[in-house]
Symmetry: D2
Subunit: 350 residues, 4 copies
């Protein structure tokens, strides 16, 4: 446990992952919010933009050019892709830890990064040492990391949903793994766009990114890590008329060995010491609202006896375990705090 | 009944009143959709933007500079304020009827118009002959009008909710009339704005325009017409997380004469021949969904015995009776059709 | 075209499929609504329960014991499973046509029916002659049918989404077909239940029926018809916070022949004369709101080059093409009307 | 500060106020959840009914007949009206404090209680000593109370919205006070009812209780306390398609003295030491989501210069400050804890 507070900086706090970081960090006992930058909103008190923070956050947005982030212990980037990598070098040089909630440090394969994000990567050496911040898979690496690529929301559900099987080699990889995923609209961010207006997105649903979504290569790179091969993977995300919440329904064919395994026990054992992964009892039907505002990911398992398939359903709050909560979890690990610190908010139901 | 079809032009068909006009006119037996203009979308088939119209509307958006609107019998303006008045002169000169769904021809008092809309009025002579298109109050004038200022959505609910009382002088005008009004989010239009994003407007509500809303002077001008004096009027609109629907709750103090009157009978008599005004039985609680997609306005009356007040609740679909449906109703009157033609769609419930 | 109107009876008009039938039939030019029964609501005007029908439907609910349904030309059953089969014998004997919107006449295999619906089938002889009312597959049989089992909502999306492939033998049936389906909450009916309360189902989603849903055997029986074999089929339905709307995302492996086929052209050709099936252009992303209130089913196709799979996305309004609209479409065919009569309502968007 | 934890019992924990109490108390550092009763669910782990509490609440529902509530320090009743008064006598005799979230101890006038709740009051002597648990008005009485009648949700907004004016006599009481109030659907409770189904209440709104709502007499009794007279009061509640959230828009006529007063300063001064009342800066538009899940009530003031009226808008979370949060606030006061203990959850936005 720390004796003094962690000085935290946030770059880009006007989006949904930004305000979510503020919500969680404002309740974190070991954190001092030092600086938050925004080019467009410099001078505005944060609580004027997000009145939910009135009385809890007294920071004012600072112009990036005026902010000395090297005085922080850790800086979170809640920015579009490309921002974190442009500032990482200076921060790393100053000994500041970096947690990027965008994609700059998620993909180790630079060619893939540049293809999907249409940006040259400006600091491949830092990337090479960056850690993919999924604590349930890489806790030890996170502990000593200087730079974290915080996972995408969809990848978190898919990877934690599949890891116990892939680690044991129980999936028949001659058949594609399918993840049919569904996200609340906050996942699209706080950008003014017609497609996510209330009158467009409410009482309506659709698939999107069917021919290619940026989380596809991220998931594939990690599936390769987990399985040792490059599995075929079909990924279809859908936009659902709810603010928060993400649910992935995965369909995998088990190997003969997998068919003989007690899958429920396997998952329970694998995750028994994980504070934020909850394996539900057999027959449960996970609902997204059971994690609304909380950092838990809950999952359930349904063997399909007739086909030899396993259906796996995973839920999380896309803004918490899928973004800001996971980032705080990573910070806790990096600063040797109890991993749950500041993250024990009970989900809001109803 | 016409032997040949009415040639209709629409200026600005990419917003919600535009697509709603298209929905209604596509089902109208006496209309031929001739042209629809859009600067930004020229060349795009309308049904590509609004796939609900696939197979029903084959028009392509035309650049305004390429469209000869003078070949139409009537032109609807589903545009921002200021567009209709810039084109009205030429259309009127060519004998084309004009129905403006924005505010250019709603307010007879030009000073008030210019104060609230921050625009000089470019054709005061046409305005002087324009008719406020609320058929239940001005049907005869609509019949012979060349230019219609189609009423605002809130004013339609307030004026039809109060007309029977004001026409009979039954309201104590020494006390302000209060209208606490609520609108679905489509009323804010199809503009990309943060405030009306799903993740902002859903599971949330707020008042807006409390210190002044453009429908306030419009309502006041009409209240003056109805009552012969300028009544005090307090108007607070609210944004409600539903796509369509508008509900106004009005609070008025009755005169001693009003207190002796059978108000229910008064309203039923006043509106008995109106095809689109439905006075509900005593004790009813109007729901917005009972008019979803339909051109009806439904209302109910609640005398407050202890206070001598009357509470009036009015519902409509803001995009139909509050905008596009009323515009088509006006067109039907202007072209001597049965007023209900093309407007007999049964509301969608649930 | 008929010279006189079709006399229609509805048994059980207090649920969502009932009010939806009323909405459509009230706008149908060749129909006379003769009688609607309800045990619980006898004596109540239908429009008192559903004020959206005020001025359009003047029927009063009749107690079943007082209603002589044999005077009708056709009777729709919008009732729980088991009701239609208890009355079908008498109606058939009287020459009345029957369209059951529940499951009594959907499954030809009585053993399967009795297993899933926990009811003995009371008129297997009538079932043997009943027709599965999916016009796009069985139009000729519908034309001469006396009794129609109107398809379930999910099966309509799955079967029309797969038919062109299965008819041509282009699916590799050694691999299970997966349908990940999503439904609006109205699909659960108008029963008072905690799980579908607004405060439970809003801003939330979940899967249900993962271990077995009644539409599974219905789909499997029809897949067998289409393919000649009994394909493996995995079906996971989900509950989505929208009133209406259904979207099925299907994942199938193509045969080598299928991989060489122009799938888009295959579907366009197969459905080119179908008034209610709309094959969207390549790259389209179907939204449920584009069919809200309309009888269209729209679909799009996404070949997954790397895996040899095809993803198929289908949308419909679960209460229209998925229930009442399809029932009216069947009626139109049975009475030799233009199939589109009364069903040309333009969907409500937004 | 206590050295040992407060033993808490909850009677009736299966509704929304019950689960909300559990959410808040599970995060309260000075509370030990001892027992929760439910007749219908005895034996069921609470977290099986509400999986959001998994890992946080290990209690199992106990049958009321098996629960010895006299071992508790305080018992919360989250039950229908009539339950608390049937058990209060025994608990009070045993020295247990009682906080009733229903109406049994809200109205001092028994005649009014019996008229509106259709129940004889079974313990008028306890009622006479019960305190109306609105801390901002009755903090000292709460401190020493044995039995608390926790205020209704609507009354909390109306009374805190009006108190500063009425305490100073600045409202012209010859004119009725109007409160046009709006509530999210969770206010209707977790009962299986058709009217609050998702498919009924979503994308829809309505007024209800226009001719009489049980919160009307409760508000009037308190207005009398505040003003010394019995002001006329018009109250119209509305049902809004959101889960949580309440907004009251109030219209009052100011006295000449009131018109000369700096109303903003008056409210800021009145509430400056209140931890849970937030007077927003002039021109603010309170949104319900800014208090979602939090115990704050926020308000804004709009003088209507032309009419001499003041419009007051108040928002709260109906389940927190309007119910369970306020109950915990009362408990904190009764047990001499910092009033904010366990209530510092930052609201969930978006």
């Amino acid at each position: 446990m720390q004796s003094k507070k962690i000085k935290v900086g946030i770059v880009g706090g006007t989006g949904y992952t930004g305000v979510e970081l503020l919500r969680l960090l404002a309740q974190h006992p070991d954190v001092e919010l030092s600086v938050i930058t925004s080019r467009g909103e410099a001078g505005l008190p944060v609580a004027d933009m997000f009145p939910s923070l009135r009385g809890r956050v007294s920071l004012v947005f600072t112009d990036p050019s005026q902010a000395d982030l090297t005085l922080c212990d850790v800086v979170f980037f809640a920015t579009p892709h490309g921002v974190a990598m442009s500032q990482a070098q200076a921060l790393v040089a100053a000994g500041v830890k970096v947690i990027d909630l965008a994609a700059d440090f998620r993909l180790q394969d630079i060619t893939v990064f540049e293809k999907w994000y249409k940006l040259p990567h400006s600091c491949p050496d830092i990337l090479a040492n960056a850690v993919y911040g999924l604590p349930e898979l890489y806790r030890e690496q996170v502990r000593s990391a200087q730079v974290i690529g915080n996972p995408g929301c969809y990848p978190t559900t898919v990877l934690l949903g599949l890891a116990p099987l892939l680690e044991q080699g129980l999936v028949d990889l001659s058949i594609p793994i399918v993840s049919d995923s569904k996200s609340g609209v906050s996942g699209a961010g706080r950008k003014a766009e017609v497609a996510t207006l209330f009158a467009e997105a409410s009482d309506n649903m659709k698939a999107y990114g069917v021919s290619g979504h940026r989380h596809h290569p991220e998931i594939q790179e990690q599936l390769r890590q987990l399985s040792g091969v490059a599995p075929q993977f079909i990924f279809v995300p859908h936009l659902i008329p709810m603010i928060r919440g993400m649910l992935s329904t995965m369909y995998v064919k088990l190997t003969p060995e997998g068919l003989k395994t007690d899958i429920q026990a396997l998952y329970e054992t694998r995750y028994q010491r994980e504070p934020f992964v909850d394996v539900l009892p057999p027959g449960s039907l996970p609902e997204t609202r059971t994690v609304r505002g909380g950092n838990h990911l809950r999952l359930a398992l349904y063997p399909q006896a007739e086909t030899g398939y396993l259906t796996i359903i995973v839920v999380q709050d896309n803004l918490v375990k899928g973004a800001a909560g996971q980032a705080v979890q990573n910070m806790n690990i990096m600063f040797d705090l109890d991993e749950r610190t500041g993250l024990e908010v009970v989900p809001l139901l109803p």
